[in-house]
Amino acid sequence: MKSKIGKNKKRELLHAVLKHLGLLIGAFFMVIPFLWMLSTSFKPEVEVLIWPPKLLPNAPTYLNFVELFRQAPFFRFFVNSMFISIVSTIVILLTSLVGGFIFGKYRFPGQRFLFLLIIVTAIVPFESYVIPLYTTMVKWKWINTYQGMIAPYLVMSFGIFLMRQHISSTISDELMDAARIDGCSEFGILTRIVTPLCKSSGGALGIFAFTQAWIAFMWPLLIANEKELFNMEIGLTMFQFKFSTNYSLLMAGSIISVFPMIVIFILLRRQIIESISLTGLKG
């Protein structure tokens, strides 16, 4: 008996060590480019191109970050990015939740067709219908406006798709029927039962929607005719001169750009990890 337990413990330990080793190696690869960005953002420009490259700067400086805000209204860019991303995320969450619920738990004529249509609009690459969309914005006088910039980011086909998958697999018909017997309206089912149960997929979707809007580049650039409307991603291009790049400022700007998304991720991570138990009904 004793030797068997000893063996099991050893195996568990080995497993744990291998697991951590694997994860660490993987994590190292994930993080290398980011470490480069971080180290370059603290380097003065003369050190940027040293070969072979050094990870730690000889004369680390935070001046790049200061210069960043001096050269361009970076704070304004930051605020713009935040505004656009937050609005986009909220609207996408709402529309995806409702859409996912309807497509997931109901049957109605035209359902298949509409759902396929929504998926198809995600398949068509955005770059190919940018021009007609732009012409519409010109007609509505939405050029150089916030609403013009946010317009394409108000719905996300993948969002509806995700919520549909999640809802249809975690919310049973019996649950809904039980609610109806209790006198709950359809709308009530949506607000009182479905919404609380979608925290994990909603969290994931929130991150993706936020990221999509945050790194949006082509469309906001087309719409914005004034620098005041630029977002951070566009702001970063200001350091790419025709033939050369101001690497240290570019990296400093990128670090600032990544930061909020890390924060959002950490905030929403809990939503994703916390498991919501449905055993009450499944049993």
């Binding site: 770059e127 359809e186 700007g253």
Partner: protein, 301 residues
Amino acid sequence: MQYLGLQKYSSGERSRILFCYLMLLPILALFFLFRVFPIIKTFWMSFFDWKLVGNERPFLGLGNYLMLLVDDQFLLSMKNTFLYAGASVVICLLLSLPIAVVLAKKTKFSGFYQAIYFLPYITPLVPMAVAWKWIYDPRYGILNYILSIFGIKPVGWLIYPSIALWALIIMNIWKNLGYNIVLLMVGLKNISPVYYEAASIDGAYGWSCFRYITLPLLKPILLYVLVTSTINAFNVFTQVYVMTLGSQAAPGRAVRVLLYDIYENGFRYFRLGYASAEAVVLTIIVIALTLIQFRFIKSEE
């Protein structure tokens, strides 16, 4: 009501259907305004020699499509895109599954690992490209340095066409690993522990547990990850675009993907009609792949 063929539904069901349409109305309106109508316009443009600037736009019928069939650059882009998408999606999925399984258990550091693995997904693309060009540098890049520890000769990652595409595939996998992992964790977390308890009572554990319980219950999320990864991979543009800029860049032809070709035809050479036709072809291909994936995974239910 009769026209919709709704007489077969009861009144309760009818009001439910009305509820559906009502709730969907604003959503569909947004889709139609900002997606469907522009897409229809693009489809329309594909039948003309539609120039970005200029007023002469002669009707071509299927002219653009026929030109595509003999366009070397288009065919090359097609080949590259298929390879790129196929490799990225499959490898990324295979790697992310075990990692997600491990990270979904609430162990120490799992939060830390999750954040690290997600970092690539949220990194802005231009600085990422610069960083990767340094990593891929044949003389001083970290990748070749690590390989040299194992005695492997330096690889010209971005220099030689045959390897350059793989260099970009690796970059794509790196970027999307976090995306896959997050989604798979959502799926894993929502598998009720009851199933595992029942299984362990029956004496099953480890691999068979994974194969017969986890995998089937992950189907809905797996389908989502597969479909969206495929669509995103076929529509890749910015990542490839930034890697081909400037010096030390990837050789253009080897990494020419469909969307890059579309972009160049439309915005560089102003051949909007031709680019639209190309986009239509790309769309049809991806729709076909998506339907296949739906069929394949659904049928196994």
